[in-house]
């Protein structure tokens, strides 16, 4: 059957199971938008293409499926760039589809022509420039396969306008042929045996649980492994939720704003089992002093991550779930009570310093109200965040027991991610409770998507932590620039009125005693809701490993007497 390129695109998208796309139309993708009307796909009209990228990303992370975002050529496509880089850094499977000027105009600086495949080459897992209609079916098939397999990541398809219009025979490719792309699955037997030996010799082992655990669906087998070998588990920012926070072997988050006992455990370990994580500088501190006494075993699907930052003793390249499933029957049962006691001692010391131990002093602390949110929702909500102090406090105090419910921009640290990713997550799980926690700065970066939330009736609860500062930068200026505040003071709009102008019910909370009631009100109000919390202006996130310091050289919260 002869179909236009645009129709072929939609045929292929529906065959991939795509039910929702996030996008924005323009001159170079109008044939795609026209053909869309014939297909059972829901289109979400965003207010800025960056929003579309983050929504598709949030959808992908919440659903475990491939998200789709669309834009026109030129400025439409370049507006996606921040969102593409965000998805790339966090290995999120998103397919981006951009319109491009007609093939015969390429290279001539035509109206809204931009070299989008050139711009996105280093921030995509792969990308395509499509100049003919008969390439589309194969390219779309490949793009989805590449996006979701191996180490997932964003794939961009730039489709020339003539290719959207031309008619050609539609043949759906039955299989993907990519001779240069064969993601690994099992690790070699001999290496598994070496891992078994290292695990057998360890007295102070620690599991580092990364985003790869979530991506490969290894959370169950990870639990078997941890319990069988009696090994405590600490998570990266993106690994949170992959191992239940309520599990006795769970330590919590490691790294720059990780819990002190986690960082101390890593630095004192004799074996690190790094599962689907990449030793980012935010979790290692200075490399020269990182876990000096530990043998390091790295299970990782991307061979280029092996020895990249930390030279490991034993790399096992493969799919984490597959490798762990192979490994669990080979390891013996162990008991590490002494080690766990030692860690518990560090933990108790940390708890004495914790802000959670402070009595109510009438001030509104983000950490306290995140804890209240956690209590009110039974820890069961899908939580997305923006980037900054509130993100770290949410990571620390919204303790998660399940994967795919914690959505935050880790590798890129993209402000503006919170609200759109929550809207995307809502499309994945419309019946679940969804909260986004944002700072006053980051919220304003993509606040226009409030209007999208209203148009779609997205049931997302928006908590804005207003400290009238770019809090995280202010904290660095306080600690490392002798409190010379520069460019961090922010006048904010009346967020309640802003929300109401969009038709979103909203409330202002200024005191601790109003918190629980406001959260309850938000939960009982259908559709999008905004709560603006006027929080302590100059609070700091603790602990903190200063840039360039060893992981256990943390700035700790002073003990309050």
């Amino acid at each position: 059957m002869e179909l236009s390129g645009a129709e072929i695109l939609w045929e292929c998208l529906t065959r991939e199971g795509v039910e929702v796309v996030f996008g924005y139309p323009g001159g170079a993708n109008m044939p795609i938008y026209d053909a869309m009307l014939m297909y059972p796909v829901h289109h979400v009209l965003v207010r800025h293409e960056q929003g579309a990228a983050h929504m598709a990303d949030g959808y992908a992370r919440a659903s475990g499926r491939v998200g789709v975002a669309m834009a026109t050529s030129g400025p439409g496509a370049t507006n996606l760039v921040t969102g593409i880089a965000t998805a790339m850094m966090d290995s999120s499977p998103v397919v981006f589809i951009t319109g491009q000027v007609a093939a015969h105009l390429i290279g001539g600086d035509a109206f809204q022509e931009t070299d989008v495949t050139g711009i996105t080459l280093p921030i995509t897992k792969h990308n395509y420039l499509v100049t003919r209609a008969d390439e589309i079916a194969e390219v779309v098939r490949e793009a989805f396969y590449i996006a979701r397999s191996g180490r997932p990541g964003p794939v961009l398809i730039d489709i020339c306008k003539n290719a959207q219009i031309e008619k050609t025979e539609f043949v759906y490719p039955e299989e993907v042929r990519l001779p240069g792309y064969q993601p690994p699955s099992h690790a070699p037997k001999a290496d598994l045996q070496k891992a078994v030996e290292l695990i057998g010799r360890a007295k102070r082992p620690v599991i580092l649980c990364g985003h790869g655990v979530v991506m490969s669906g290894a959370e169950e087998v990870l639990q078997h492994f941890a319990v069988k070998t009696h090994t405590p588990v600490t998570s990266t920012l993106l690994g949170l939720g992959a191992f239940p926070a309520s599990h006795p072997l769970s330590l919590g988050m490691m790294g720059m704003h990780g819990e002190a006992h986690c960082n101390l455990a890593i630095q004192n370990a004799d074996l690190l089992l790094a599962f689907g994580m990449r030793f980012d500088d935010r979790v290692t501190g200075t490399l020269t002093t990182y876990a000096p006494g530990a043998k390091k075993v790295h299970i990782e699907i991307d061979p280029s991550e092996v020895h990249k930052n930390v030279k490991v003793d034993l790399p096992l390249v493969g799919d984490l779930k597959t490798v762990l499933t192979d490994l669990v029957p080979l390891v013996d049962e162990y008991e590490h009570d002494d080690w766990l006691d030692q860690i518990a001692g560090w933990k108790a010391e940390g708890e004495a310093r914790s802000i959670m131990a402070w009595p109510d002093d009438g001030k509104l602390y983000v950490s306290h109200l995140i804890h209240d949110l956690w209590s009110a929702t039974g820890g069961g909500a899908i939580v997305t965040t923006d980037v900054g102090q509130h993100q770290m406090w949410t990571a620390q105090y919204y303790a998660l027991d399940k994967p795919n419910r914690w959505i935050t921009s880790g590798g890129a640290g993209t402000m503006g991610f919170g609200l759109p990713s929550a809207i995307g997550a809502w499309f994945a799980h419309p019946d679940d409770e969804i909260w986004t926690v944002a700072g006053d700065g980051g919220f304003q970066m993509t606040a226009a998507e409030l209007s999208t939330a209203v148009q779609e009736g997205a049931n997302v609860k928006i908590a804005i932590m207003n400290n009238n500062f770019l809090g995280m930068v202010r904290q660095w200026q306080e600690f490392f620039f002798e409190k010379r505040y520069s460019g961090v003071n922010m006048t904010t709009p009346d967020f309640v009125k802003l929300a109401e102008a969009h038709g979103v019910p909203a409330r202002l909370v200024t005191a601790p005693e109003e918190v629980q009631e406001a959260i309850a009100w938000a939960r009982n109000t259908p559709g999008p809701v905004v709560i603006e919390f006027k929080v302590e202006k100059e609070e700091a996130v603790y602990p903190m490993v200063p840039a360039g310091a060893a992981l256990d050289q943390m700035l700790r919260r002073p003990v309050r007497s």
Partner: protein, 182 residues
């Protein structure tokens, strides 16, 4: 130390750009890069010469090359028995009287004179990098007007193949950990 890689890549538009962009982005240094067709029309072959501190760096280059969807196979032939060749065209200032001298030098290096003009000649030389360097040094005093070199191409001898360090990659064979320097 100089490392030489052979990469088989899909013969598609933009692949060279992907490889070059990768080297730039990861801050690896390309000494020379030669691309050409192979016995299979759908496959191109690159010989990439780079400067790496050690085998761990070489592993990084290999592993990152594999991340490119269009890269089919990568081998490190730096320390394997192999034939490596570079081709140079060197235009030398030479009057009628100097031609004999250039001719003699060329003969020593089994190079050929492929063009003669009233006051210059073009010498074509093929060989290892060292050999060509050696000849260039001797021609320099006579007067080199311009020079072009293809960069190295390489092929392993007989049944030998290069080292593939990247676990999990295509065509990977198990190598002992000691071999990759850990």
């Amino acid at each position: 130390m100089q490392y030489t890689f052979i990469a088989l890549v899909e013969n598609k538009p933009g692949v060279l750009n992907r490889v070059a962009s990768l080297f730039r982005r990861r801050n690896f240094n390309i000494e020379s890069l030669a691309v050409g067709r192979t016995e299979k029309p759908e496959v191109s072959r690159m010989t990439i010469v780079t400067d790496c501190a050690n085998d761990v760096d070489a592993h990084k280059i290999e592993a990152n090359l594999y991340k490119l969807v269009n890269v089919i196979d990568v081998q490190d032939v730096s320390r394997q028995p192999s034939v490596t060749r570079d081709l140079a065209l060197i235009k030398v200032r030479a009057t009628a009287e100097q031609r004999a001298e250039v001719n003699n030098l060329a003969a020593i290096f089994r190079a050929r004179i492929v063009d003669v003009a009233p006051d210059s000649v073009i010498v074509e030389a093929t060989g290892t990098e060292d050999k060509i360097e050696g000849m260039v040094e001797l021609l320099r005093p006579i007067g080199i007007i311009e020079m072009v070199r293809t960069g190295q191409v390489a092929m392993t001898r007989g049944e030998h193949s290069g080292i593939r360090r990247t676990a999990g990659a295509n065509g990977w064979r198990e190598v002992e950990l000691e071999e990759i320097g850990v």
